[in-house]
Amino acid sequence: MIRPETPQQLAEALRMLAGEHRSIRMGGNFTKDRLGGPTTAAAETLTTAGLRRLLQYEPQDLTVSVEAGMPFAELQRTLAEKGQMLPLDPFTGPGWESATVGGVLGANLSGPRRRLYGTARDMVIGMTFATLEGKLVQTGGMVVKNVAGLDMGKLMIGSFGTLAAITSVNFKVFPVPLFSRTFVMEFPTVSKAFSERDRILKGQLPPAAIDVVNDSRGCRLLVRATGNQQVVDRFSADLAQARSSEGEEESAVWHEVREFTPRFLAANPEGGVAMIRTPLASMGAEMERLKVPCIARAGSGVIYAHYAADPPPTQVHDESGMMKKIKLMFDPENLMNRGRLHGYV
């Protein structure tokens, strides 16, 4: 396993491997091999885990720059010391704690609070990546608003390392809200849960997170309110029938959501998770159709469907062929993470 310690070393390693036409399995700590399609054997394995420095943290500017191999949890701890956070909430759980910043971006993981804060594409303000030509390419910068040049960082997010190796990432970060409360409601059917979701989304109170979970324990709607005390109180009045929690009890609710997929995969070695994207209005019907355990980001049009065996294949839509052209521009011999991105490239 090649484990570079600097971006320059990483770029050089890629250049050498490409020069020798050797296939490369590239990642951070390889916690997400069961997401994003199959992994295939490669001539060489390369990890970015050796690049783990905190490059710059400016709490007053609400910006941070880290190397790609820094564990995501470590970044969160650094931010928490200053009362700040990166509300991505990626999967976690046994075996997943070492997930790196680069890996979380490569797999485009996001979590319940995407309703309020968006996903990685909304939080990344700059990035550097190393190409198979041995170049270090910078995109964006260290300011929260920047439209100079193409936003190439967006292509790396969700690319499963099939184009280049992310070496460092700059984020805009957020203050931890002063108050937070979570409301859990149980429903006899999925459609009833989505009716309540509709009521909330069309109402005046903007939830930070709104998930529907449907599994062997039934169907539940989870709503998280964050902000100042008044926001939380208004939600409490609006959702008076719900079971509510704060503090550690609340954290446990969301931890369970974030651990759901990793635990399911651990328990089902032949299983897989499909990420189904659908417009908001069709989510309920789509989830009723799925006869497997599901978690829905009910305010963002994403359903995670958990199959104990034979998950349906994921289609990549690329009618224009531009995605394939982009892949070939970066990696003409298809050396990087062959099979990833659902075997498309």
Binding site: V144, K145, N146, K154, N228, Q230, M275, R277, P279, M322
Partner: protein, 466 residues
């Protein structure tokens, strides 16, 4: 051309073309032809014809851009989207709208206002500028602080490649589709890679309460310090705009918005959200302002007062027109804690170049808009102004910022790109440009500096039969 667009579908007389040589910036170039397609099919036919004659193709919305993005730098065909200006569908259940590129930004919000929704990016030109132009330049606005720029609100697009291929990206889901985020790559590509013929934008719920405040300062650095204080107190306004005294006086004379004539700077701060939360934040902001030595803090009491405060801000560029024949507005960005030193630097530039520079900043996110007033009829003046502007942008780069926060690079700042990015980074951008537009037909001479862009050869359209 007439076969494709009909007799009223294009302009070619020199007096007509002269109207299309500018945008809102200071660069100009004459196109050879201005066309007005009404459908994607007509756009396809147009780009194919232009390609046949090797003519550059330049997309254009309302011409309000501030970096020369819609100016036909190398001549050629301007594709105006003025007649593709319909809102095709409003889909509130899915919190989105499908629009043609010529739809005016504000018209989307007006169309959904009664149902309690809005489209978030709000450039100052929002009464005129179009979504197509917004997508090309990745436009922002005062509320970017809370909501982000255009790219954060585009869910999908229909695009036309310069060879006439039509393809779609994204869709109505809020998530990027499996595969590479082409929407994210193409928003902000400044018309150099595709023409955008349809846009799916995200709609958001209107907040329950909006409060607008005006904080008045005797010293500009105190206004800068307030921005840092607001961040330190973890208060999250949706807009924090700063205007210096020079600008204030011009705006006040033009619009009578109620700004104090003797102040050194003001901050215009907006808060949104649910009623009780906003009311509490108003008090928190007031404390932060007073802590940073504000002379006075006013809160707009009603919608009319709010609109008046914003009228002054959003029409500031127009107000400047009363005082100088021309002006150059820069769009540099600095880390938000560097607002005060940046202002000092700009004042120093004004002194050294003997120029009047007034300042209007999106202070909350560090986006500077120094307005350099000048008279282009004075020999050497335009060059001097450009040098002063470049010096300000160099400063932004030096303190870790950027040369553009929302206006785009265009033909105004493309040479500055070489100071911001390494040669390898510029080559990567050029690689994408070549992939989408191998023959360099789309908006040549933009974004990339000399030596990195493709060479453009101007071919006169003398062979074209009108």
């Amino acid at each position: 051309m007439e076969a494709i667009l009909g007799p009223r579908g294009y302009l070619h007389s020199s007096e007509d073309l002269a109207l299309y040589q500018y945008d809102g910036g200071i660069d100009a170039a004459l196109p050879d032809l201005v066309t007005f397609p009404q459908s994607t099919e007509e756009v396809v036919a147009l780009v194919k014809l232009a390609a046949e004659f090797g003519m550059p193709i330049v997309g254009r919305g309302a011409g309000t851009g501030l970096s020369g993005g819609g100016v036909a730098r190398a001549g050629g065909v301007i594709v105006s989207f003025a007649r593709m200006n319909r809102i095709l569908e409003i889909d509130l259940d899915n919190e989105c709208a499908v629009v043609q590129p010529g739809v005016v930004n504000l018209d989307i919000s007006l169309a959904v206002e009664a149902d309690g929704y809005f489209y978030a990016p709000d450039p100052s030109s929002q009464k005129a500028c179009t979504i197509g132009g917004n997508v090309s330049e990745n436009a922002g606005g005062p509320h970017t602080l809370a909501y982000g720029v255009t790219t954060n609100h585009v869910l999908g697009m229909e695009c036309v490649l310069p060879d006439g291929t039509v393809f779609e990206t994204g869709g109505r889901s809020f998530d990027t589709a499996e595969g590479y985020d082409l929407t994210g790559l193409l928003v902000g590509s400044e018309g150099t890679m595709v023409l955008v013929t349809k846009v799916i934008v995200r709609l958001m719920r209107k907040p329950e309460l909006v409060k607008t405040m005006l904080a008045i300062y005797d010293r500009p650095e105190d206004a800068g310090a307030t921005v840092a204080e607001i961040t330190a107190r973890a208060i999250t306004p949706v807009a924090v705009e700063m205007m210096d005294g020079v600008l204030l006086r011009m705006v006040e004379e033009a619009y009578h918005a109620g700004y104090p004539m003797d102040a050194a700077a003001v901050l215009l701060i907006e808060l949104e959200g649910i009623r009780e939360a906003v009311e509490e934040q108003v008090e928190q902001i007031r404390e932060a302002c007073m802590h940073s030595r504000a002379r006075e803090v006013r809160v707009a009491r009603n919608q009319a007062e709010r609109e008046l405060l914003w009228k002054g801000r959003k029409n500031a560029f127009g107000a400047v027109g009363r005082f100088a024949p021309s002006s150059l507005v820069q769009d540099g960005v600095v880390p938000r804690t560097k607002i005060a030193p940046a202002l000092d630097f700009i004042l120093d530039v004004a002194r050294r170049y003997d120029l009047t520079i007034s300042n209007i900043f999106h202070a909350g996110d560090g986006n500077l808009h120094p307005l350099i007033l000048f008279d282009p009829r004075k020999p050497g003046e335009t060059e001097k102004v450009k040098r002063a502007g470049d010096e300000i942008l160099q400063y932004c780069i030096q303190v870790g910022g950027s040369i553009t926060g929302e206006h785009g690079v265009g033909m105004e700042k493309n040479e500055m790109m070489a100071h911001l990015y390494s040669s390898d980074s510029l080559d990567a951008i050029a690689g994408f440009k070549k992939l989408f537009d191998p023959r360099c037909h789309l908006n040549p001479g933009k974004v990339l500096p000399t030596g990195h862009g493709c060479l453009e050869i101007r071919q006169l359209p003398s062979d074209l039969r009108y």
